[in-house]
């Protein structure tokens, strides 16, 4: 009892301190909680509601049930081409960016003369982003008499009508995306530099060649980073807007009318906020499905240290 009497005040004090720490933590979290509620959760809930309404930006939303969703799946001549354009961009662009970023990071991981200069040079395009200046550059690069066709011509190829041909226009934007691999490359580079040299030394002693080391040591070790990069790049491609809006305007024949661009077109020029809201949920679903596939598949190809 006496022991208990002696222990009780101490444990009470500890509990009080714990409570105080907890309360302080919750108190400090209040701004974040308010922020996420006001700027994320509330907009998402309202957006979901608006997706079931007809909503002129300057009018009142009127409930129309699932009409927006029915219209997009059954009657909208632009929706499915837009989905196809988006998926093509995501499914080609994401692996391309990953491959380009990894390859350059791999090369820049060697101790080369002036390697820092190269690292900076390769990173710069990703700083530029999809702005107007880059768009103008791209339009000129891929003009029928621009540098790209000139270089192709030097190899005897016929000039390509990049922007006016629906078969080629998406690839100009995919190439633009692949060109801006700098951030992804930097993360790969950091991961590569974290691979312990002792593993390579051991592999050397065992007689493993460089290619074998790449596939047996380097790639398995950096798979968590590959997963992280894949998801980031995937999201970025799903959300692409600037390049399509500034360079191709969604054409020709909807070949580059990505969902994000279409959402904008529905929301503003077309004054259909409700329909645009519905489209965002489809976009979110698309992102969710592909991200889930990546996560589920990662059990089979991502190797964690533990």
């Amino acid at each position: 009892m006496g022991t208990g009497d002696n222990a009780a005040p101490g444990s009470d004090k500890k509990a009080a301190i714990k409570r105080k720490i907890k309360m302080t933590a919750y108190f400090l979290l209040i701004p974040w909680f308010i922020g996420i509620t006001v700027f994320r959760i509330y907009p998402m809930i309202m957006n979901l509601y608006y997706s079931f309404t007809e909503f002129h930006p300057l009018g009142e939303p009127s409930w129309i049930g699932v009409s927006n969703y029915l219209e997009m799946f059954t009657a909208d001549p632009v929706f499915w081409p837009s989905v196809v354009a988006t998926l093509r961009y995501v499914l080609i662009g994401t692996p391309l960016v990953m491959a380009a970023a990894f390859f350059i990071a791999f090369v820049l991981n060697f101790k080369l003369k002036g390697v820092n200069l190269f690292r900076t040079a390769y990173y710069i395009p990703s700083i530029l982003g999809g702005n107007v200046a880059v768009s103008i550059l791209w339009v000129r690069m891929f003009h029928p008499i621009g540098p790209v066709n000139t270089v192709l011509g030097a190899f005897g190829a016929e000039p390509i009508n990049w922007f006016a041909n629906p078969s080629f226009a998406p690839f100009t934007l995919i190439i633009l995306s692949a060109w801006q691999f700098g951030s992804v490359m930097l993360i790969f580079l950091a991961a590569l530099q974290n691979v312990s040299p002792t593993l390579y030394e051991a592999a050397d002693i065992d007689g493993a060649r460089k290619w074998r080391q790449l596939f047996a040591i380097t790639l398995p070790i950096i798979t968590p980073v590959m997963l992280f990069n894949s998801i980031n790049v995937l999201l970025r491609h799903f959300q692409e807007f600037n390049a399509a809006a500034l360079i191709t305007g969604g054409g020709p024949l909807n070949a580059t009318r990505f969902l994000n661009l279409y959402i904008y077109e529905m929301a503003f020029p077309s004054l259909r906020l409700g329909y645009a809201a519905a489209l965002t949920w489809v976009l979110l679903a698309g992102i969710g499905v592909l991200t889930a596939i990546l996560f589920v598949s990662s059990r089979h190809w991502v190797h964690y240290n533990d």
Partner: protein, 470 residues
């Protein structure tokens, strides 16, 4: 409060939309718009209080916004400087930018109730932005004791009347005419631009001999060029009007049959097949139209371009400055029509000005608006950067001071010969975007003229139903 909540609602959707940023570059530098002469009757005009001035209003700050090129911005600022000098108690803040994206800004500002006090608006906007046909701008009849509405005719004001309220005042009329290259005409023995489709096709085929059909490698030539992707949209409207006497719609009902529309699609097909205008592969690609800066135009390889009268000087400038041509090498003509069709040039009011419903200083803003249209110093400062004015004082001052360029006057003369009014929803993106998609599919050969016409009529009617639904 309700308005604020509504604005927040719009912003919520905007916040969640994953994209945002750049603007759809689908409009020319010239103003947009549309209505057929409105049915609504303008309210009786109140007598102007000539004694009232902003000097009595105390310290006032007014926000003004517009879109346009640098020259227009400099002109507005010069006019405002005159106003500031006269009324130092009035502070005028200005906000301006390119046409692309300007409507987005206005929509968001209107939704949140934070729009500028005085706005340059597009003629079509005052109708498109009216949910259920209710005007969202200040009814200018309420400030007619300050703003002298007798500067405009009733029919002029009727163009910007929405739901019985005067949403804005129009600056002038605007229509598309052909600016043509005399040098190319002379090369093919033509004294002027062809007047009929048949003549156009005949000479168009000759001009296009030797063109690369797959792309323009900098040597192609055409008698008529599609420099902003709107050539066919506006041409089809003109040809339909010329052959049927009807604009696209009236009170939400399409006025053309599939056969009538198919006939004009066939004209577009012929123009492409003969090389009279570019096929889609010979164009720089959607989103890359350069308008008056296009080398096709500046290098003199285009015989003509269909341009807004208000935009004529831009085409003339680049033709002269970037090419080796002279001012006299250009001419003005109406769009060629099918043989036997009634002469017509489609037109509608150009830009206008509207006042915010939420302004704290409606009388001062109305005074400033009145100043822009009636004060000689302001009109001279604005110069021709807004196009050709048709309000009484502005027009008189502009003519007396030779503000209007000769080619603009020539263009206005063509507009005045045979007017066809572009209806108020023709340029509404809800109608125009589906049309442009159909043109694109037809021009790429994905659909034939009959299918294109069927889709044109049915999709336009669906869009109209949506616009006119309560």
């Amino acid at each position: 409060m309700k308005r604020f909540v509504k604005g927040i609602g719009a912003l919520v959707v905007v916040a969640f939309l994953a994209a945002c940023g750049a603007a759809a570059p689908d409009e020319p530098a010239a103003p947009d718009a549309t209505p057929a002469p409105p049915a609504a009757t303008p309210a009786p005009i109140a007598p102007v209080d000539e004694d009232w001035t902003p000097a009595a209003a105390g310290d006032v700050t007014i926000n003004v916004s517009w879109w346009g090129v640098d020259a227009r911005a400099n002109a507005y600022e010069a006019a405002f400087d005159v106003f500031r000098a006269r009324y130092p108690n009035v502070t005028i803040n200005t906000d301006w930018g390119a046409f692309g994206g300007h409507l987005d800004n206005i929509i968001i500002q209107l939704g949140a109730g934070t729009e500028p006090d005085l706005m340059q608006v597009n003629y079509a906007w005052v109708h498109s932005l009216a949910p259920d046909g209710n005007n969202v701008f200040l009814d200018l009849n309420t400030v007619s004791h300050i703003l002298d509405l007798s500067e405009w005719t009733d029919s002029d004001l009727a163009f910007m009347t929405v739901g019985g309220e005067l949403a804005g005042v129009p600056h002038g009329m605007n229509g598309r005419i052909v600016v043509y290259n005399r040098l190319l005409m002379e090369e093919f023995g033509l004294p002027t631009f062809p007047a009929t489709i048949e003549e156009l096709l005949a000479v168009g085929e000759q001009v296009s001999v030797g063109n690369n059909l797959n792309m323009d490698l900098g040597e192609n030539r055409y008698i008529l060029s599609n420099l902003d992707n709107l050539l066919f949209d506006l041409s089809i409207l003109t040809w339909l009007y010329a052959t049927t006497g009807n604009t696209l719609q009236a009170e939400g009902q399409m006025l053309h049959t599939v056969d009538q529309v198919a006939a004009v699609f066939d004209i577009v097909g012929q123009l492409q097949e003969t090389g009279t205008v570019q096929n889609p592969f010979q164009e720089p690609g959607v989103g890359n139209f350069m308008n008056h800066n296009d080398p096709l135009w500046t290098e003199g390889r285009a015989g003509g371009a269909l341009v807004w009268v208000s935009d004529v000087q831009n085409f003339m400038s680049t033709f002269i400055e970037e090419g080796d041509q002279n001012w006299g090498d250009l001419g003005i003509a109406p769009l060629p029509l099918p043989a036997g069709a009634s002469p017509v040039t489609m037109q509608r009011p150009s830009l206008g000005h509207a006042i915010s419903r939420n302004t704290q200083h409606p009388e001062v803003v109305a005074y400033l608006l009145n100043f822009l249209y009636t004060d000689e110093a302001a009109i001279l400062a604005i110069d021709n950067t807004l196009g050709v004015p048709f309000s009484r004082t502005a027009e008189a001052v502009a003519i007396a001071n030779d503000i209007i360029l000769p080619p603009q006057l020539e263009g206005m003369e063509i507009l005045g010969r045979a007017m066809g009014i572009i209806d108020e929803y023709f340029e509404d993106p809800r109608l125009r975007n589906p049309r442009l998609d159909i043109f694109e599919e037809f021009r790429h050969g994905v659909i034939d003229s009959q299918t294109a016409a069927q889709r044109f009529v049915s999709e336009q009617q669906s869009a109209l139903d949506a616009v006119f639904s309560p």
